[in-house]
Amino acid sequence: EADIYQTPRYLVIGTGKKITLECSQTMGHDKMYWYQQDPGMELHLIHYSYGVNSTEKGDLSSESTVSRIRTEHFPLTLESARPSHTSQYLCASSELGQGAKYFGPGTRLTVT
């Protein structure tokens, strides 16, 4: 199993709150990703990064931001949580090129 961690694992928060989901990997991977996935459904790319100071938007990026100040750390921030953000958020990393993705265990977010 790969060494990629996400915190918190579960989060229940009220509408309008600002939240940051943490993701760290110890594999030295340059590429990191955030995906949103409802149970049993497709994976939607939110943001990705090729390395330090690199961030790119995916399909669902308009309501969140990311930063990549260190290779191992790729936090995702929702400025104002809404019930529509209720979902599972999966972080992943891979080497540069088209190598295998390693996923973290996910953060299950509920916005009330």
Binding site: E42, K101, G106
Partner: protein, 109 residues
């Protein structure tokens, strides 16, 4: 834009039966990857195919890349209850990265 289809969307099999899922692309791919996600879990990398017509095996799983590199299949021989989950194909083209919608497999004991 890029179209990715995975069929079937759902498959229910009796334990011991075979299972196949197909991933079809509207454009030629440089490579394709397959992932498995158990219920409540996260996707786990299974394999990557690169060459036209390539076939790779992992125990009861057989992966194939089409000759035209526009489709791929994952075949499981004699399914077991541990095979339950959703199987996703994945590929990159240009600056885009695409996961297929997945095939959800349930295995009845």
């Amino acid at each position: 834009g890029q179209q990715v289809m995975q069929i079937p969307q759902y498959q229910h099999v009796q334990e011991g039966e075979d299972f196949t899922t197909y991933c079809n692309s509207s454009t030629t791919l440089s490579n394709i990857q397959w992932y498995k996600q158990r219920p409540g879990g996260h996707p786990v990398f299974l394999i990557q195919l690169v060459k036209s017509g390539e076939v790779k095996k992992q125990k009861r799983l057989t992966f194939q890349f089409g000759e035209a590199k526009k489709n791929s299949s994952l075949h499981i021989t004699a399914t077991q209850t541990t095979d339950v989950g959703t199987y996703f194909c994945y590929f990159a083209y240009g600056q885009n990265f695409v996961f297929g919608p997945g095939t959800r497999l349930s295995v009845l004991p």
